[in-house]
């Protein structure tokens, strides 16, 4: 359980994080979304005890990050932005060092390294210096050090940033595979990632939470959610549009230059699709294509953060 209470951080008078309050329960994968400079990283730095908040508090599994910093940090596995590590070390020596710091002794060290290698495949590069590795491997080293003590709380700052699509997929699979009892917080500005791995998405803008819900519920806020696009053969799209606009379930109709007609529902979950189908059958329209859209997070994201800090 993470409890954040009125967390605030000011840099030179300007508040980067303002009065942030939220709770995360075990089993949740929380995605921090927001434009660059929204305060995602700063929040994570405060949650992990790297930065002291200007005011407010955060508790990690009951331990206050300021007054019981070490106990709280022991609960956390943290991947800082850019996955920094001691690049002159070999992967094995580095993981060994982290395991020792995390309190493993003797044979436990090897066990903890073995266990993490099952999750994060690094066997091929164990004896290579980290500075010689590709970005994808470096990111995996960062993930491995965060996971080595099997932490109950995992905080990952942009875990897939700069990775190729295959590597992104692997990292997401790994995050999904983590046990249900863990809390995972990831920050990202890749919206598909949130839909792919998060059970909860929090959009942060200018240091404040602007939206907080499941990714699905957020996507439903998009104006295009459950709208229907139609293309009819041998018929003036204008005619189709006017017929659709007469439907009681229709809110508005948009006509595209390419002849595609899109009808938006009055409310989510309305029987618009059935009504459109009946209309098509009644007029015996020859349908070229008919698509019902699902809301996309990016429209919601843009609406929520427009005019944000770039």
């Amino acid at each position: 359980m993470i409890q954040v209470n009125q967390l605030t951080k000011q840099f030179g008078g300007a508040a980067v994080v303002k009065d942030l309050s939220f709770e995360v329960a075990a089993g949740a994968v929380l995605g921090f979304l927001g434009p660059n400079g929204a305060g995602k990283s700063t929040t994570m730095k405060m949650l992990t005890g790297f930065l002291a908040p200007s005011s407010g508090s955060a508790k990690i599994n009951g331990f206050d990050i300021q007054s019981e910093r070490q106990a709280a940090q022991a609960e956390i596995g943290y991947l800082p932005e850019g996955a920094p590590c001691y690049e002159e070390m070999t992967v094995y020596r580095f993981l060994h060092f982290i395991a020792e710091i995390r309190g493993f002794r003797g044979r436990e060290i090897a066990h903890s390294i073995d266990r993490v290698l099952e999750r994060v495949s690094l066997n091929a590069v164990l004896d290579q210096r980290i500075e010689t590795l590709s970005k994808g491997f470096k990111r995996r080293v960062g993930l491995a050090q965060a996971l080595i003590h099997d932490p109950r709380v995992l905080i990952l700052d942009e875990p897939t940033d700069g990775l190729d699509p295959n590597q992104k997929h692997q990292v997401r699979e790994m995050i999904r595979s983590l046990s249900d009892e863990k809390i995972v917080i990831i920050s990202t500005h890749i919206l598909e990632e949130v839909s792919a791995v998060c059970s909860r998405a929090m959009i942060i803008n200018k240091g404040e939470i602007v939206m907080d819900n499941t990714p699905e519920a957020l996507a439903e806020l998009a104006p295009e959610h459950e709208s229907i696009s139609l293309m009819i053969q041998d018929l003036d799209p204008q005619e189709v549009a006017s017929a659709l606009s007469l439907l009681p379930e229709s809110d508005r109709v948009v006509l595209d230059p390419d002849g595609r007609v899109t009808v938006f529902p009055k409310s989510i979950g309305s029987p618009l699709l059935g009504a459109v189908q009946s209309l098509v059958a009644a007029h015996e329209w020859r349908v070229v294509s008919m698509v019902q859209h699902r809301g996309q997070l990016d429209a919601v994201f843009r609406a929520a953060t427009e005019g944000g800090a770039g």
Partner: protein, 244 residues
């Protein structure tokens, strides 16, 4: 093993991953010998002691110690690994001391590497071995004081070059504190007590008797307090600057 020991071990080992450590030790040995034999006129003096050797240590440390200390925190800041280190369940003191002690041990190792010069003087004459031992300990303490200054300067900046220059300059001020160059500047407008205090901060003043093999308590206290003071400053800088 405590966190301190784990950090110490990692830091100490990190010196030997690259050739830099070996180059450093080599440079130190070559310079200290060159100074001793040529500038210090080791043979010409005809005395079986290592005073010409130790006399040059403050000047040698002036640029060699900052070269060791400059990376201590600057590198961590630059690569971002400071965020990793300080979010591990360790205290700030464990991190600071682990790094400092590793650098100090490395300096000690370089100092131990100069033992042939002791063998030389022992072969040529009958030196006071106790005095030489005392000078070695004193020299190592002075290196520690310089390292602590360098540690603090390194905590200030991401740039190792800036850290090097800042530490070199600060060390120079402490070396020169007892010299007319500095004292004349203050003379006349600061109280005499203050002037004595400034002169009392001089590294040279405290090292002169050490280089002769006299390990006085006041000198020990001076160097040890310098180390403690500058490590406190380091901690302060890390707390203040972590906001960047």
């Amino acid at each position: 093993m405590s966190h301190l020991a784990v950090i110490f071990k990692r830091e100490f080992a990190s010196y030997f991953v690259t050739p830099v450590a070996y180059v450093f030790i080599l440079v130190f040995l070559v310079l200290s010998s060159a100074f001793t034999f040529y500038l210090g006129q080791f043979y010409e003096r005809g005395q079986a002691d290592l005073q010409p050797f130790f006399n040059f240590h403050p000047w040698l440390y002036l640029f060699l110690v900052p070269a060791v200390s400059m990376r201590l925190w600057s590198e961590e800041r630059k690569s971002g690994s400071i965020e990793l280190l300080l979010t591990l369940p360790i205290t700030l003191w464990e991190a600071i001391l682990g790094k400092f002690l590793a650098a100090w041990a490395f300096g000690g190792l370089a100092l131990i590497g100069t033992f042939p010069i002791w063998l030389t003087v022992a072969y040529l004459g009958e030196p006071d071995n106790g005095a030489i031992m005392g000078s070695y300990v004193g020299s190592w303490l002075m290196a520690g004081a310089f390292l602590a200054i360098g540690c603090c300067m390194s905590a200030l900046t991401k740039s190792q070059i800036i850290a090097f220059i800042l530490s070199g300059t600060t060390c120079l001020l402490f070396v020169l504190a007892g010299f007319p160059l500095v004292l004349n500047f203050f003379e006349g407008w600061v109280p005499v007590m203050m002037l004595d205090l400034i002169a009392g901060l001089s590294v040279i003043a405290h090292f002169t008797s050490i280089s002769k093999g006299v390990l006085a308590l006041t000198d020990l206290i001076y160097f040890v307090s310098m180390i403690i003071l500058w490590l406190f400053f380091t901690r302060l800088m890390l707390i203040i600057k972590s906001a960047d």
